[in-house]
Amino acid sequence: MTRGETRNLLKGLAFLSPWLVGFAVFMLLPIVLSMYYSLSDYNLLQPPAYIGAANYRALMHDGIFWKSLRVTMLYAAISLPAGLFISLGVAVLLNVSVRGQSIFRTIIFVPSLVPTIAAAILWKWMFNQRLGLINRALAPLLELLHKSGPPWLDQSSWVIPSLALMSIWSVGNTVIIYLAGLQDVPRELYEAAELDGAGKTQQLWHVTIPMISPVIFFNLVMAIIGILQVFDTPFMMTRGGPNRASYFYTYYLYDNAFTSLKMGYASAMAWIQLLLVLALTGIAFWSSKKWVYYQSK
């Protein structure tokens, strides 16, 4: 390395240093420490005492741990495909040239700008069984069926579908990414398909979806990571209830850390969560070989 190159390297590092220091102090160090804490009995106030894998063993016998995992997986099973397909559908519709297209795009995107806490309070009232807008809007239909409005957040069987429904409201970011992908699909492919006699559905299935499959894959991976960390919405809207039906994994982790002061136990949960995210992302990557098409390959 010449003197000039070394000087440039140092300059580069100096400019990067705020990020590097921030990453080391606020990310890397806590990650390393949390690994140690997960093998310790640690309550924040006293020094951690090494206990080996006891926290991990205890988790395997903890009914609430499994319950929170089931709740999270159920939410993921509903919210993930629904979010991906609905946002794809909305993006396809928004990609059609119609008058006021930019207004429709804005309308879809705006909810994703609403802070989660504000959205949670808003939806809590929307879901109110007696006074909520949703049940009021459904009233004529429910009248015909001789039913009363569902207790959205107040019954164990309804709470997860309700939260999943709410999550669809803020798919704006995902839609924007799909839209960018859709606009990259070469026009001539559609023209060739049309010449071959393909209808709109066939064009969507055989041209659009394969061409934007890398975007679908990206959204899938981001959704897996995000959904396994859901915390703020149930914390604000249901406090994990009723009867722990919306007690998500991250919520239980938080309670262990800051309510029960079991920081070691919570760290072990965090590492299991990381492994889970890695495993699911790994499966997604493995499966991508079969369904993701890259133009450059």
Binding site: D41, A49, G63, I64, R130, S148, S156, P242, L261
Partner: protein, 464 residues
């Protein structure tokens, strides 16, 4: 090009430096003439009128004892104060005084996160005789005084006298006296049955329009952990350090809670709960007249007056009914506390402020502003006669009763509260059978407590 980029960089850095040096500054929190006083950082959880009340007390202190002894208390209100105090204590930068809740005496005390106050209390002449036993005992853990009370509570039955009188004929027909509140749980149920009203819609669905009594929405942990007291039972035995969730009295309590959705219908109960707002809002069902009886603390008088002044003369207070013959004047006494976290830099000065709040006149001023009872054994006639809650005498009597109970003295009380809340939610939705649920909770919580105790012993061994 190189010169231009350097000029831009210099200008940016220079600008940043100017902002740092000459930029806006916050108003000094401490008056200039008190700059050399010892500053006590006091964190409180209260907001709104409750914060204004404690600010008055802090100002009084700063202008009297504080001025004399060169101590200046700086009050800061914050949310999630328990977690912030904990993290600050762990980080070695705790506040000097923390305004927390009574369950934290045991939780933080058992973890060594609080300064013991018994010697300081003794030096200030503060003794057990100054307090109602329930609050004095609740300030202790493992033989140490870890807190002193700020504003306390006792809970009792609030009932709507107007609705009682309007339904006098119906109550009499059912063999009940409309001029007095229920005295047993059985009577409470009977009053409730008479006073509960429904409408039935076109499809035959029943909707509760007014309920006589309903177990409180279970977000109130204190409700679920205290309810067995009126059934002559407790969920935790502090002497044996054992949970007692399968005690017949506890099971009876949960069976009783289950009887409400069974009688009224799960959908009707759920719909009723969701239609009401927080206990301190105008949407509270008692204040709206859609609930006739409610278990609450003395502060309700203030909220009723603010939210529905037309109801000011339509309610009264009595001890909550009990399920055990001969058991009377039972109450549950949660309270707010002042504590000194471990690592506090100015312990004697911090205690000066705490001791100031314990003076009868100061304490009564604070408790009247908060519309609560007094933790002190002596209460002035001014306090009883000019308190914003005209029934404060009932709360004072209950708090002094031998059947006044403090919060579960268990280091994992918060976890126990969460576990029991989940059970109550399941019971009210008829999704959970109380007995097996309590049996499972008993096993889980006891194991959790045993694990806590083992960890505590292990840490003691490491320390020694």
């Amino acid at each position: 090009m190189k010169i231009i980029s350097r000029i831009i960089l210099t200008l940016l850095l220079g600008g940043a430096l100017c902002v740092l040096v000459f930029g806006p500054r916050p108003e000094p929190a401490i008056p200039a003439e008190r700059a050399h006083d010892v500053v006590i950082h006091y964190w409180e959880k209260w907001l709104g009128p409750e914060y204004d009340a404690i600010q008055q007390i802090v100002n009084d202190f700063n202008n009297s004892v504080g001025r004399e002894k060169y101590i200046y208390v700086e009050l800061m209100s914050m949310s999630d104060i328990d977690q912030k105090t904990l993290v600050a204590t762990a980080g070695g930068v705790p506040p000097d005084v923390a305004g927390l809740w009574d369950p934290m005496v045991v939780q933080l005390g058992s973890l060594g996160a609080l300064e013991p106050l018994e010697d300081l209390a003794k030096a200030h002449g503060i003794t057990a005789a100054d307090y109602k036993p329930v609050y004095w005992n609740g300030s202790h853990w493992a033989g140490h005084l870890y807190a002193l009370p700020s504003t306390p509570a006792a809970v009792a039955l609030f009932y709507n006298t107007r609705i009682f009188h309007e339904n006098a004929a119906k109550l009499r027909a059912a063999g009940l006296d409309p001029d007095r509140p229920p005295q047993t749980i059985d009577e409470l149920d009977r009053y409730s049955d008479v006073l509960t009203t429904f409408v039935t819609d076109a499809h035959g669905n029943r909707h509760v329009t007014r309920v006589g009594y309903l177990p409180m929405p279970p977000e109130w942990d204190w409700y679920v952990t205290s309810m067995p007291l009126w059934f002559g039972a407790e969920e935790w035995n502090v002497k044996s350090r054992q949970f007692t969730l399968t005690d017949p009295g506890v099971i009876r309590t949960f069976d009783w809670m289950e009887s409400f959705p069974r009688k009224l219908g799960v959908a009707a109960v759920s719909e009723f709960f969701t239609s009401q707002g927080g206990f301190d809002t105008a949407q509270n069902s008692f204040m709206r007249g859609t609930q006739v009886m409610e278990l609450q603390g003395p502060w309700m008088a203030l909220y009723i007056h603010h939210n529905n002044p037309s109801m000011d003369h339509d309610w009264a207070v009595a001890p909550f009914p009990t399920a055990v013959p001969g058991l009377k004047d039972v109450t549950y006494c949660p309270f707010d506390t002042l504590m000194i976290p471990r690592g506090c830099k100015h312990i004697p000065e911090a205690f000066e402020f705490i001791a100031y709040v314990q003076q009868q006149a100061v304490m009564e001023k604070l408790c009247m502003l908060h519309c609560k009872g007094s933790p002190l054994s002596k209460v002035s006639s001014n306090f009883l006669h000019h308190h914003p809650n005209p029934y404060i005498g009932v709360f004072e009597m209950l708090a002094s009763s031998p059947n006044a109970h403090m919060t579960m003295q268990c280091p994992i009380a918060q976890e126990a509260g969460a576990e029991l809340t989940a059970i109550v939610q399941g019971v009210l939705a008829l999704e959970v059978d109380p007995v097996p649920a309590l049996e499972r909770a008993q096993v889980r919580l006891q194991a959790r407590y045993d694990e806590f105790e083992t960890a505590l012993k292990r840490r003691m061994r490491v320390k020694n």
